[in-house]
């Protein structure tokens, strides 16, 4: 009550519109102050580092040296002509899209299963997320352990049952890429399950009942009701996951370090090798800029398709 009286008193001395403007401006100033830390942090933690990478990519620069020489686009030329470059681009696309396809397929199948009604559904759903939650190091460690020669359980069964697969895939020329894709899929498919489940729950059940009355088989129901309603979200998470698979460093680094003979060396690993293996910050930065450009153009292409699909499915 006292505050209202005070305000009334103020109105008596200052014309209303003026006072409001003062109060508005004061408020805007407070709001501006509140926003400042974020602006400062973003400038310092993102914009400046990115500018720094761009600048480094034109320098000849050792990792631990303070001297640097401007070399123009020399680094870019060196990177593109490097024997590992084309191979890494191929590896990265194989890894990113191979993982994406598996994650999508398994994610969809598990989401459809978990969308049914059955006892113990909630705890099973929760536990299904575990592999997504554990640290990458733990995921890599336990898979490496299971495939190791002396102690591995999977290694043992591949040998005793003569399965058509390398018993230690991470050291095998032909199976190492499959191995890292497998672990990346295991680690990240629950993300797909989560997103698909959320979307499945928005589908109107009456649609299925009506379709059943009209005699649609369950495959027809899936094809004509479930799938169309999942496609928009599939495109969105498909893009996110592609980019994240593309950027993934941990899985390959921990399991194979890009080996054997560069068979699993993806672009993030090549950047890491340039910088921390060969101590050339300039070349690493140049490759990072190239990767950045690839990502941006991929996003643009994706976005174009997404818009067109959106129109089709609206």
């Amino acid at each position: 009550m006292s505050a209202r009286n005070l305000a009334g008193g103020a109105v008596a001395t200052v014309p209303t519109h003026k006072r409001n403007r003062w109060r508005d401006n004061h408020d805007r100033f407070v709001g501006f102050l509140l926003l400042m830390p974020l602006v400062a942090l973003i400038l310092g933690l993102t914009v400046y580092p990115i500018a720094q990478v761009m600048q480094l990519s034109t320098q000849q620069q050792g990792l631990f040296s303070t001297e640097s020489t401007f070399v123009g686009l020399q680094n870019f030329q060196n990177v593109v002509q490097h024997e590992a470059f084309t191979r890494s681009v191929k590896n990265t696309f194989t890894f990113a899209f191979g993982s994406l396809a598996l994650q999508m397929a398994i994610g969809l199948a598990v989401a459809l299963l978990l969308n049914r009604q059955f006892p113990l559904r909630t705890p099973i759903r929760g536990a299904m997320l575990f592999s997504y939650l554990v640290p990458y190091v733990v995921a890599a460690m336990t898979w490496k352990f299971m495939f190791s020669d002396a102690t591995g359980i999977l290694n043992y069964f591949i040998r005793t049952w003569n399965l058509p697969m390398a018993a230690s895939p991470f050291g095998s020329l032909d199976w190492s890429m499959f191995g890292v894709i497998l672990v990346n899929t295991w680690k990240n498919f629950p993300f797909m399950v989560l997103v698909f489940l959320a979307q499945l729950q928005t589908i109107d059940q009456e649609l299925y009942e009506a379709a059943a009355v009209d005699g649609a088989s369950s495959f027809q129901q899936f094809w004509n009701i479930t799938l169309p309603s999942l496609i928009p979200i599939m495109l969105v998470v498909g893009m996110l996951r592609t980019i994240w698979n593309f950027n993934n460093f941990e899985v390959v680094f921990l399991l194979t370090q890009g080996g054997p003979l560069g068979r699993t060396e993806t672009l993030p690993l090549l950047i890491y090798r340039f910088v921390f293996g060969e101590f050339s910050l300039g070349r690493g930065a140049a490759l990072a800029v190239i990767v950045f450009c690839i990502l941006v153009s991929m996003s643009i292409v994706y976005w174009y398709f997404y818009e067109r699909m959106q129109e089709k499915f609206r």
């Binding site: 209202r4 501006f32 509140l34 926003l35 830390p37 974020l38 602006v39 942090l41 933690l45 993102t46 580092p49 990115i50 720094q52 990478v53 631990f64 299963l113 978990l114 049914r116 009604q117 059955f118 559904r121 099973i124 929760g126 536990a127 299904m128 592999s131 939650l133 554990v134 640290p135 990458y136 190091v137 733990v138 460690m141 336990t142 898979w143 352990f145 190791s148 002396a150 102690t151 359980i153 043992y156 005793t160 295991w186 993300f191 989560l194 997103v195 959320a198 009942e209 009355v213 998470v237 950027n247 941990e250 921990l254 370090q257 950047i271 890491y272 910088v275 921390f276 910050l281 690493g284």
Partner: protein, 281 residues
């Protein structure tokens, strides 16, 4: 509609449960194997054919880990670094989400939510300049520097998760508080923060788990052994040694997983909505 007898329906749901449990067991096998292996004595680890359950249960690997390695230190480091990065991330995000939803600024909205595009950047792209920046400032191997670097992860997450919570708070609530004599800051502290508390907790858990699991930044910025984080500690165990002491590594893996699962269990509902809505790493 075709009518299904209750018995058939019960049978059907049992089949689904069975399927789901089977899938779950396959998915969890690596973690279950890690868990049981961490309690096996060394001789059993190398036993052929391998057995799932330990015949003799032992905690020797945990004792070794605790007494003869630097792991306790790694845990402390990671708790500190993740805690600092999460708290700063939440404070900054609270302030800016509040500012953006309550005041009109040209460009503020696109800016705040454009921050999400940090997700799209390859972590290695940011790791390079951060290495250089902290090297120039003489702050390599510094845990505070690592915590600041982790803000690039916690900030976008916090903004994304907190926004709907703050937006949902009716403005009339804080206006009422201000009419009753609160300053804007008091209104913020006494109205907004308690209202958004569930969101704040969810954000904390969420960003904490992400930082706890992070490897690349600590790999690039930290080389001193006593300054390592848990992820980096385990990574160096599996990378640097050629003959593994698997029992020890498995025990470390179990201990590194426990905080994550514990926090997750604490806020399952928020986590699930957050994960789904935020579409996050």
């Amino acid at each position: 509609m075709t009518s299904i007898s209750p018995a058939a329906r019960r049978f059907e749901s049992m089949v689904f449960t069975l399927c789901a449990v089977t899938v779950l067991l396959i998915v969890l096998l690596p973690l279950v194997w890690m868990f049981f292996s961490s309690f096996k004595p060394n001789t059993e680890l190398f036993q052929r054919p391998p057995q799932m359950l330990p015949r003799v249960w032992t905690v020797e690997h945990y004792i070794e880990l605790w007494n003869f390695t630097t792991f306790p230190r790694y845990f402390l480091n990671t708790f500190l670094v993740a805690g600092i990065a999460c708290v700063i991330g939440i404070l900054v995000s609270l302030a800016s989400v509040y500012a953006v939803t309550r005041f009109q600024f040209i460009g503020a909205r696109p800016f705040t939510f454009g921050v999400l595009f940090i997700y799209m950047l390859p972590p290695i792209l940011l790791a390079l300049p951060f290495f250089r920046i902290w090297f120039n400032l003489g702050q390599l191997n510094s845990l505070p520097a690592l915590a600041i670097t982790y803000l690039t992860i916690t900030l976008p997450f916090s903004l994304w998760i907190l926004r709907p919570y703050i937006e949902a708070i009716p403005r009339a609530l804080e206006e009422a508080a201000m009419i009753d004599g609160c300053t804007r800051f008091q209104a913020f502290r006494k109205v907004i923060v308690p209202q958004a508390w569930p969101g704040i907790i969810a954000t904390f858990v969420f960003t904490f788990v992400v930082v706890w699991n992070e490897l690349l930044y600590s790999l690039v910025l930290i080389s001193d052994e006593p300054k390592r984080t848990v992820s980096l500690g385990i990574a160096s165990l599996i990378l640097e040694t050629s003959v593994y002491s698997w029992g020890l590594v498995n025990a470390a893996g179990v201990l590194a997983t426990i905080p994550v699962l514990f926090l997750f269990a604490l806020v399952t509902r928020h986590m699930v909505t957050g994960l789904g809505a935020g579409a996050v790493k």
